[in-house]
Amino acid sequence: MPINKIMPSFDEAVADIPDGATIMIGGFGTVASTASLLLEALVRKGVKNLTTVSNSCGFGKDVWKLMGAKFPEDMDVLVRNNCIKKAIASAPVSAVYQNNFEKKLRAGEVELEMVPQGTLAERIRAAKAGLGGVYTPVGTGTAVEEGKETKIIDGKKYILELPIKADFALIKAHKADRWGNLVYRYSSRTFNGTMAGAAKVTIAEVDEIVELGELAPDEIHTPGIYVDRLVVRPEKYEEADEAEISQDAKESHEKYLERKSA
């Protein structure tokens, strides 16, 4: 039978993600690099007590709507719907905007393990590559070192960082074929490319599915072996809960515009 990783719907793609699962969420923080519709499907499923692995922890759809995003949900949809128990992240909060994750963190409703961004990438890669751990010089002499093994190698101090293993990875790519070969666009490759294949099951949300053979062998960024399921984005976005854009988000957007013009 021809290999076909394409799933008919976002709901079916996430149907077996259980409560308490560890999930990697691709992207950098911008909604364009986020598997928005998979996250929404996860909320519809009503999953609880997730441990998430991601770069940031969401800014909320209002911020992205103001910036004109077509699919505006980011990880915040999991945060505000109380799906998360613990987040492993490098940039969980913003300097210019108090996101829902920060509010919940201050309220003691979520746990946080903060990891330097490069260490996060390397720990995810270690899981993907079957390594037991890596020694990084990053974080020595800081809070990151606490409770971890260190080692002097060639006269320099390193911290032992262990793989981050996960049950599912939810990533966003640009194009895919039925084998799961993926191509990303520019800065939206980011953690999507790193996480593909790092979890037991990798699910990719894509803009477009092309015929097998249309992606040139040398242009494929993620070989299909790392991808288990694919779902393609619809033409139109249907918003789950249409609501007014919050005052917070408007203020944040104003600040963003100022920074941008600075």
């Binding site: 290999i3 899981a127 084998w179 294949g197 062998p217 070989p223 299909g224 072996i225």
Partner: protein
């Protein structure tokens, strides 16, 4: 017993190929393993990986044809095929070591009752190449070894303990030889199939460790 029918290389490859399930990602070593690509069961789509950095390539080209920038791990030129991807060595072994391959098929010199594999150096030569063998043996979800049951001198290759240099310990899952198919389990070596005309006792007589004869042990199935 010497006159009994033994499977030839092609038939051993055919038997190995029966193990390939729909959608499996498979790495084939040099020698008999690579022949298995010709015997994928009808209707199954199987994707081959080569450790030099290609996935989903096509068949080996005829001589004199082929693109020198598109070779398998044996250095043979292969055809591009729809869905093929290329990557560097670090990525290739991320795939291999990270457990992303369903099956690795390799040749062997010795296999022990615990599933240890020796296949990179014959003691007489004293020099051999590890290549990708150690990574492939450790990393693949399932390791199939294909080899003759005995050496040219008639000595068992299925042994209690490997006397040759070890490639990987406790890693072989299935052994296909020219006279038997043996599963390596936590309980020991289970004889599943024998070549046409062979009895389990005859296979045992050419095998060092004691075989557990599967209640369902039967003649090797090729189709």
């Amino acid at each position: 017993m010497e006159d009994k029918f033994k499977l030839d290389r092609e038939t051993m490859a055919l038997r190995v190929a029966k193990e390939f399930q729909d959608g499996n990602y498979v790495n084939l070593g040099i020698g008999i393993p690579v022949l298995a690509a010709n015997y994928i069961p009808v209707g199954r789509e199987v994707v081959f990986q080569s450790e030099n950095g290609i996935l989903g390539f096509g068949e080996i080209t005829t001589l004199g044809e082929g693109d020198p920038d598109l070779v398998n791990a044996g250095g043979q030129t292969v055809r591009p095929a729809p869905g093929m991807s290329a990557f560097d060595h670090a990525e290739s072994f991320t795939m291999i070591r990270g457990g992303h391959l369903d099956i690795s098929v390799m040749g062997g010199f010795q296999v022990s009752e615990k599933g240890d594999l020796a296949n990179y150096m014959v003691p007489e030569r004293k020099i051999g190449s590890i290549g990708g063998a150690m990574d492939l043996a450790v990393g693949a979800k399932r390791l199939i070894v294909v080899m003759n049951h005995v050496t040219k001198d008639g000595k068992p290759r299925v042994v209690r303990k490997c006397t040759y240099h070890i490639t990987a310990i406790e890693s072989v899952n299935l052994l296909v030889t020219d006279i038997a198919v043996i599963e390596i389990t936590d309980n020991g070596l289970v004889l599943k199939e024998v070549a046409p005309g062979w009895t389990p006792e005859e296979v045992q007589s050419l095998t060092e460790p004691t075989l557990i004869v599967d209640p369902d042990c039967h003649e090797i199935e090729l189709m």
